[in-house]
């Protein structure tokens, strides 16, 4: 039930417990216990909402920053990653294979806010060798969900 439960709530965290129990074919109390276990094991880390900010009046700027860093003896990349992830404007930090080491997804209110984060905070970290900032122009699909118009049901109303 664990895998199926995770697959469902990854797409719809608002589904209610009773419905979850019905579609999984188990008792409601089992769902409650399993969710509690998943939370305490740190498998479920949060329940978020996917928002298409472009459709609101709120201005947001997102950037993807490639960072090359000097790994530290005994710590690897952990120290610098932990330092970077403390900034609230940092949405994601990934350790990458390939041409650079860390990838940061940053969200700011303005272009200036993002660029000053890069020049004032990120580049000045001792371990950081270089950065490359890419601004995100448009999100077509995010978290497995296409953000544009929903597709209509094009099937015939009644078929054998």
């Amino acid at each position: 039930m664990r895998d199926e439960l995770l697959t469902i709530i990854e797409k719809n965290s608002r589904i209610n417990l009773k419905e979850l129990a019905v579609i999984l074919g188990v008792e409601e109390i089992d769902v409650v216990n399993e969710l509690a276990a998943l939370e305490s094991e740190g498998i479920i880390c949060g329940y978020h909402t996917l928002i298409n900010w472009e459709k609101t009046d709120i201005e947001k700027v997102s950037a993807l920053i490639e960072v090359r860093v000097t790994p530290q003896r005994g710590q690897g990349f952990d120290n610098v990653a932990e330092r970077i992830q403390k900034y609230p404007e940092v949405q994601s930090v990934y350790l990458m294979s390939g041409g650079y080491d860390l990838m940061i997804i940053l969200e700011g209110k303005t272009l200036r806010e993002v660029s000053s984060f890069v020049s004032d905070k990120l580049s000045t970290l001792e371990a950081v060798l270089s950065t490359a900032t890419h601004f995100i122009l448009r999100k077509y699909k995010d978290h497995g969900t296409v953000l544009s118009q929903k597709k209509e049901d094009e099937r015939e109303m009644i078929t054998p």
Partner: protein, 386 residues
């Protein structure tokens, strides 16, 4: 002017579904649980292969029986899933949907006066296809108390010396019934005893929610007297691609291929290329869709139980078949009033045979949100009737 029409064709009753379809399509903002096809779009990697084949200019006829690569993949698939061995060059025919395989099979096997046993409720095309093939359809009325499975006794009672073919439509549309191994073993005994053939329509074989689907061809002595029909519509959500297949004894498949060659030439080439990809890399998609259907099935069954509607638990396809006899209306009346009063379309059980009277077919090839909305409407309606 002379009558331009063939009596045999004119005498065929129009599909009960068609009649209801006309009513529904005139109604604005109705929602429907009446659809007999997946709500999922074909998985992208399969569509992509279709597109790629077009880009490469694979726009010509294939051989009459279909691409050898696809026939080989079908044989691999049937071995993987059912443990069945077929010869790709001699015992497989790729058709335009499972429907064509039904038609070709009956035409290849029936002589005038041969009786074809058709368990009902079942898919709408067996009876007309049998008539067009010159055979006499003999209906076996399946019963709710048997969960709409075909029993050996029912079969035995329907057999005469003219009986030639039994159509075995499981997992079943519209009832959602399945036949498990033990059920099939009992049937097979009767079939062998009377030396008849089986046309096993297994188009929903991937959509079972209990044990893995069993084909009657797996049982001893049965493969040599069974035409196995399957296709890509339901398992891979490929209804619009129109692609199915028939596997069976060489003698029958060769005659079917002969008619297919004259009537159809070959199944659509693009679809065949896409289907190769489906069989090679589509197992994961099938599993995902099956999981989603099963969740909806549980949700729907739960909702029907809460409404107090009597319904056996179906373990196949994507339909439930609740009983509405308690309301003292025919299936048609119930479905029409439900449509008028709550703007919800379901299919009356009678569209699938007279013995579907008193039942409705509800499809769960819909998102949970849609099901929820629809079931609220059904619940309100049932509440009012009581």
């Amino acid at each position: 002017m002379r009558n331009p029409l063939a009596d045999k064709v004119v005498e065929i009753k129009p599909s009960g579904i068609r009649k209801f379809f006309d009513i529904v399509s005139e109604m604005k903002d109705a929602i429907s649980l009446g659809v007999g096809e997946p709500d999922f779009d074909t998985p992208w990697h399969i569509r992509d292969e279709g597109i790629y084949s077009l880009e490469k200019g694979k726009t010509h006829y294939t051989s009459n029986a279909g691409l050898m690569e696809l026939r080989q993949e079908i044989c691999n698939y049937l071995y993987r899933k059912q443990g069945l061995t077929y010869h790709p060059a001699k015992e497989v025919l790729i058709t335009v949907g499972g429907s064509e395989a039904i038609d070709m099979g009956l035409r290849a096997m029936c002589n005038p006066g041969d009786e074809v046993l058709i368990p009902q409720p079942s898919y709408v095309s067996y009876e007309p296809c049998a008539v067009l093939a010159g055979a006499t359809p003999v209906i076996i009325n399946l019963k709710a108390e048997n969960e709409f499975r075909l029993t050996a006794r029912e079969l035995e009672e329907a057999i005469t010396e003219k009986t030639k073919i039994l159509i075995l439509p499981f997992p079943n549309n519209p009832t959602g019934a399945i036949m498990e191994r033990k059920d099939l073993e009992e049937i097979a005994e009767v079939i062998l005893k009377h030396d008849i053939f089986v046309m096993s329509d297994e188009i929903y074989s991937e959509l079972t929610y209990k044990e893995k689907h069993v084909s009657i061809a797996e049982l001893p002595g049965m493969q040599e007297r069974t035409i196995l029909i399957n296709g890509f519509s339901k398992a891979y959500a490929m209804t619009g691609w129109r692609l199915g297949y028939a596997c069976g004894p060489e003698a029958i498949i060769q005659q079917m291929t002969k008619i297919h060659q004259f009537a159809i030439m070959c199944a659509p080439t693009t679809s065949q290329h896409a289907a190769v990809e489906a069989l090679k890399n589509g197992d994961g998609d099938v599993e995902e869709m099956r999981t989603a259907y099963n969740q909806r099935r549980r949700y729907l069954m739960h909702a029907l139980r809460e409404m107090g509607l009597e319904c056996f638990e179906p373990y196949g396809a994507f339909y439930v078949f609740p009983c509405i006899k308690e309301f003292g209306m025919t299936s048609d009346e119930f479905a029409e009033r439900l449509l008028e009063e709550e703007k919800l379309a379901v299919v009356p059980g009678t569209a699938f045979g007279d013995c579907g009277e008193g039942f409705l077919r509800i499809s769960y090839a819909y998102s949970l949100e849609r099901l929820k909305e629809a079931l609220e409407r059904l619940g309100r309606f049932v509440e009012r009737l009581r």
